[in-house]
């Protein structure tokens, strides 16, 4: 299957400094990540705060430029942010934020905001745009009269639908959803998840779904990447990864999901906090918290290698452990 978006070994380093004269500390937010997504498919990215999943999303959208590696969209390299070509390309890829209220301009009625991408990209005349907005509102299941309201007059779920309608206005082929449901109430999350699935089925959009909620990622993804400290540590089919995680970190993450139903994986409680990206441990970044770490793990950073079943794992012990399991 041809890929719509390909990230090839992308890295992004921020230099964090304290004040004007503090010494700059390089922080590797994303470190050599290769991912791809095909039309009509969903790539889920999971991990804890500071693991670089949001930055990966921004790199995928071309909102930031990688310091190393390349991002290709529909076969072509990503133009530099802020250029005319970059702005034109926005019509083909869109971002959905975590906080729908923050992402909407609270002073403009919903319909005008949904129409804004059309205005920015000079699509259609006034009447055509109005018709398109009406169609978009219907697509995301919002009554037409809601278009006249302002964001604060809508409920959380309705707002996220409006944000989705705006993202879909230019018929993008890629949608990056960064924690799209974590600001919503439990009973509303399912509505949005279902709608995303429906929209993808109808329009064949490629989705990158970034979330810390493993249950939801499993629900929506065709492929999933687990990130830890800027790197992908495990990548593959969500059912396989969540049923039998190969990387000790994925295993701990999966086992930590609070669940109402029966638990399939015995609970593993990791020691310590996720380390500061500015102070990366040597070797495998996970080794200080890993219950299985060996001398090799402390010295040598594992590469992402395929296992027999096709999934990729970055762990020195994964291959042997699979045999044991």
């Amino acid at each position: 299957m041809t890929k719509l978006l390909e990230l090839d070994g992308v890295s992004r380093t921020y230099s964090s400094r304290s004040g004007l004269f503090g010494a700059p500390i390089p922080v590797r937010a994303v470190d050599g990540v290769s991912l791809s997504v095909a039309p009509g498919r969903t790539l889920g990215i999971v991990g804890e705060s500071g693991c670089g999943k949001s930055t990966t999303g921004r790199l995928a959208l071309g909102l930031e430029r990688p310091d190393a590696g390349s991002v290709r969209f529909a076969g072509a390299p990503m133009p530099a942010p802020g250029t005319a070509a970059w702005r034109r390309q926005r019509a083909r890829m869109q971002l959905v934020f975590q906080d729908p209220l923050g992402a909407l301009d609270r002073r403009l009625p919903i319909a005008r905001q949904i129409a804004e991408p059309l205005v920015v990209h000079g699509i259609g005349n006034r009447a055509e745009r109005e018709a398109r907005v009406a169609a978009l509102l219907a697509d995301v299941g919002l009554p037409a009269e809601l278009g006249r309201r302002h964001p604060h007059e809508l409920s959380g779920g309705q707002r996220q639908r409006a944000v989705l309608a705006r993202a879909l206005a230019t018929n993008p082929s890629l949608l990056v959803c960064d924690e799209p449901i974590s600001a919503l109430d439990v009973s509303i999350q399912a509505q949005v998840v279902n709608m995303l699935a429906d929209l993808q089925a109808e329009r064949g959009i490629a989705l990158i779904f970034i979330s810390h909620d493993l249950k939801v990622v499993r629900q929506v993804s065709h492929e999933v990447a687990v990130m830890y400290l800027g790197r992908v540590v495990e990548q593959g089919d969500p059912d396989e990864i969540f049923a039998e995680p190969a990387h000790p970190y994925s295993r701990a993450l999966v086992s930590a999901v609070p669940s109402v139903g029966p638990r399939r994986i015995e609970r593993i409680v990791l020691k310590g906090d996720p380390p500061n990206p500015a102070d990366r441990p040597s070797g495998c970044a996970f080794h200080p918290r890993c219950p299985l770490a060996t001398a090799q793990c402390r010295a040598e950073s594992p590469a992402l290698r395929p296992l027999v079943d096709g999934r990729l794992v970055a762990c020195h012990l994964a291959a042997t452990r699979r045999l044991v399991a």
């Binding site: 304290s18 004040g19 004007l20 004269f21 503090g22």
Partner: protein, 308 residues
């Protein structure tokens, strides 16, 4: 902490540099000193000679460096009025100003901070409203109006206190009260809002939830946090000790730095104005550094920000 302080010190130097540059630029922009001093119809040869003597024919950056060097040597020019060094003219006036501003500062702090705290703790009560009304009056009534009204009542009508001059300690009462009342209002208002902000923080609820009696919640949990923003305002007040009484000194004909400044501005006595400007900047910068030090003591997060 060391990094933090050296960073602040650098900023302080930068501020002084900016002030000096500002004075230089304004001085050069305000007209050719040769023409100003010699009068425009002086003979061209005299003007050229003057320019050469004062280095005005040099490139602008050389002039700037010279200017700087002169300031570093304490050479700040002569007062137009009597030809004495401007620095000396200004320095003579400082004690008179401090006689007003120091008691006024004490009054602001002793009156403003407790009133602000009390108002915050009794939000929406009559006392709160009274304090807030006083505070609003404190900064909406200009000091010259307040001063004149006080003169009208206590000097003219009642005849209890002198309306000006500096022959007795009684003469300081009206100017000090004028300065103190306005500042106390501002401080009360600021303290109140800082206190209200802190009282709304989750850690106050935590303290109550662990059974800390309300009085102790206020004294050992809320006050140390509310002190942090209040210190900034106090720093500004300390920084204006030298020139904070421009208007009030004029109202009461008080021979301090402020009155000197007004007269110097009216006479375009540039050297004196410059000295006062630098002096004020230096006091402000020192006060701000002191504030930073106090910050470091009050707020552990600040120490970390510098140490990182």
């Amino acid at each position: 902490m060391f990094r933090y302080l050296s960073f602040r010190l650098l900023r302080a130097v930068l501020t002084i540099l900016l002030v000096v540059t500002f004075a230089f630029v304004v001085l050069r922009l305000s007209g050719d000193p040769a023409l100003t001093i010699l009068s425009p119809d002086a003979p061209p040869a005299a003007i050229a000679a003057f320019r050469h003597e004062w280095g005005l024919d040099q490139p602008i950056w050389v002039q700037y460096l010279d200017y700087f060097a002169a300031i570093l040597h304490g050479n700040l020019g002569q007062s137009l009025r009597d030809g004495r060094p401007a620095l000396q003219v200004v320095a003579e006036r400082i004690p008179a100003t401090l006689v007003l501003t120091l008691p006024a500062l004490t009054m602001k702090v002793l009156l403003g901070i407790p009133a602000g705290i009390y108002a915050a703790l009794h939000r929406n009560s009559m006392a709160d409203r009274a304090v807030m009304a006083g505070a609003v009056a404190g900064f909406t009534v200009p000091s010259f109006v307040l001063g004149l009204v006080l003169v009208l009542v206590f000097a003219v009508q009642l005849g209890w206190l002198p309306s000006g001059g500096q022959d007795s300690w009684q003469a300081t009462i009206l100017p000090v009260v004028t300065l103190g009342l306005g500042g106390a209002g501002i401080l009360a208002r600021f303290t109140r809002s800082a206190m209200l902000e802190v009282l709304g923080q989750p850690y106050i609820r935590t303290a109550s939830a662990k059974g800390v009696p309300w009085r102790a919640v206020v004294t050992s949990h809320a006050l140390p946090n509310a002190a942090i923003p209040t210190v900034t305002v106090m720093g500004f007040m300390v920084g204006s000790l030298i020139a904070g009484a421009v208007v009030v000194e004029s109202v009461f004909s008080w021979p301090g730095v402020g009155r000197l400044l007004v007269v110097a501005v009216a006479n375009r006595d540039l050297a004196v104005v410059q000295v006062i400007l630098l002096l004020v900047a230096a006091t402000m910068v020192t006060a701000n550094l002191a504030v930073d030090l106090v910050y470091g003591m009050l707020d552990p997060r600040m120490r970390a920000a510098g140490a990182r």
